[in-house]
Symmetry: C2
Subunit: 311 residues, 2 copies
């Protein structure tokens, strides 16, 4: 099987889009200026997923791996309040991967893309004697000035998450629905000061919020929603379910902050498309802390999943 | 060394751009609608390079590997007649790579980016127990309708290349200058019907031109310019220098077609920024052929480098 055949197959299945003037099959793709009409900003996310790190291909299969490659990018897009439009896929396939498996991987990407009205408009295909890696670049858009960054949190803000955390290794990390709809709903109706998605784990990700917004945070252990999977793990791990919620990572829920009066309005809003849990507040120092179940406040030690280089 | 430190280092060195509203450090990058002002089209290229396939990291070092990761994308951008603007880098690093080596790789990217007025605005950093892969996505722009695709070649066109071919394995594949300036010069002054860059090898790449333009081609073996490296290889390989020029690949010269009268004007143009070699012509069948030194016309068999999947 040759690369050219695979690309022809992928191309024959590609959906059309009013924004894609030229898709798969040339040296590059061409997108229409309509994409940014009305002064919109272009939102670009790029995330690579890899066998052994982000999934175990022998266990999850090619479709789930492909799905995740796009899903993590959609999650980043959501975290900016962006509307996904066009995706590009770089396949790095082990030589033993068959065309059927490669197309299954693409199907995982394409099915999720369809769900979020996103079109695959290009990329490249490679094979080697190494392991599977899938690099996705996602382009989207947002009305100028309406993107929600990590840098807008203010002292006194309430910190919220959109769902229960922890234990995603039991399956959620492959099956999660990126919070694109929820983020767009939130950002268009409420004055969200800062937003990000939870990928490395709450205790780790919140460091980025602290760093970018130049604030501190104090979480309340009794308020952090934990998944049933976190509870299941805690039965044998020797760690509490809250500990799993704080450090496991790969939750792909949104973390956001907003003023207390905005939060109260949101809490009472019956039209919310998802749960919203207030889990702490923003402070004016630069500390990351947690109020434990017994009321004791301590430093929140980063224990989340962290890609390490050279260690 | 942690991923976060590396990103902080990369971020601290990032250049600014009037098109980048928000660069490295958030969930996504934000680019200004100015990028497509005046109805420009967005040009997107995505190419992954890998250790053992596109370079041997032990031999070439991190700087050269990084340079090539961007260079192959700039070459694709050139082939569309596009102006590169913003790059995104996905690093997949073996765990043994040190921060110094990772930054050296980034330096290789950044130096070439500067040369082509391109800014690195985002990406992601990962490590694993696999080999090195670098995924670059390059965004650029082109005036609407001025992109040069692979599909516009017409019967009777002259087929040209911008430089001598073959033997790139001796070094050129790492050190080539992407033909961005030359492509822009050509596309703005001459009615170029079709253009692409030569990456897999002339005999292989020309198949794409035939396929997309629904034409045939006949090359003239006596007109194909060969590099000194191709000649050097031919002394020990048992293959002719022209054979190397046809099949070696990784030349990263432009292949383009234009009407005979346009070609004559170009051939006499003393302001050309590069050599232009007429190497054959476009025919109205769908055949890929070559006129050998003895005048015999035969089918041009694809023998260029080809990524193979599952073989």
């Amino acid at each position: 099987m040759a690369e050219f055949d695979l690309i022809a197959d992928i191309r024959s299945r590609a959906a059309s889009s009013p924004f894609v003037d030229l898709g798969i099959g040339d040296d590059a793709a061409l997108l229409s200026s309509l994409l940014l009409e009305g002064g919109k900003q272009l939102v670009v996310t790029k995330d690579v997923v890899m066998d052994g790190t982000d999934f175990l291909i022998e266990e999850c299969g090619y479709r789930a791996a492909g799905r995740k490659a796009l899903a993590v990018n959609l999650s980043d897009m959501a975290a900016m309040g962006g509307e996904p439009v066009v995706g590009f896929v770089g396949l790095v396939l082990p030589k033993v991967v068959s065309q059927r498996e490669a197309l299954e991987l693409m199907s995982g990407i394409e099915e999720l893309a369809r769900e979020f009205k996103t079109v695959i408009a290009g990329g490249d295909t490679n094979s080697w004697d190494g392991k599977l890696a899938v690099s996705v670049t996602l382009l989207g858009r947002v009305a100028k000035g309406r993107a929600v960054t990590r840098s807008g949190a203010q002292a006194g803000d309430i910190i919220c998450v959109t769902g229960a955390l922890g234990g995603s290794i039991l399956g959620h990390h492959l099956t999660f629905t990126p919070r694109v709809t929820e983020a767009s709903w939130l950002a268009s109706r409420y004055a969200i000061h800062a937003m990000m998605d939870l990928s490395d784990g709450l205790s780790s990700d919140i460091q980025h919020l602290i760093h970018e917004s130049k604030v501190g945070t104090i979480l309340d252990a009794t308020l952090i929603p934990v998944t049933n999977d976190a509870k299941t793990l805690s039965q044998t791990s020797g760690r509490s379910a809250v500990d799993h919620a704080l450090h496991d990572g790969e939750d792909f829920e949104l973390l956001f902050t907003l003023a207390p009066e905005e939060y109260r309005r949101l809490a009472e809003d019956d039209s919310k498309p998802c749960q919203v849990y207030a889990i702490g507040e923003v402070t004016d120092d630069r500390e990351s802390r947690i109020r434990r179940e017994d009321g004791v406040i301590e430093t929140l030690v980063v224990g989340g999943y962290r890609h390490s280089l050279g260690e």
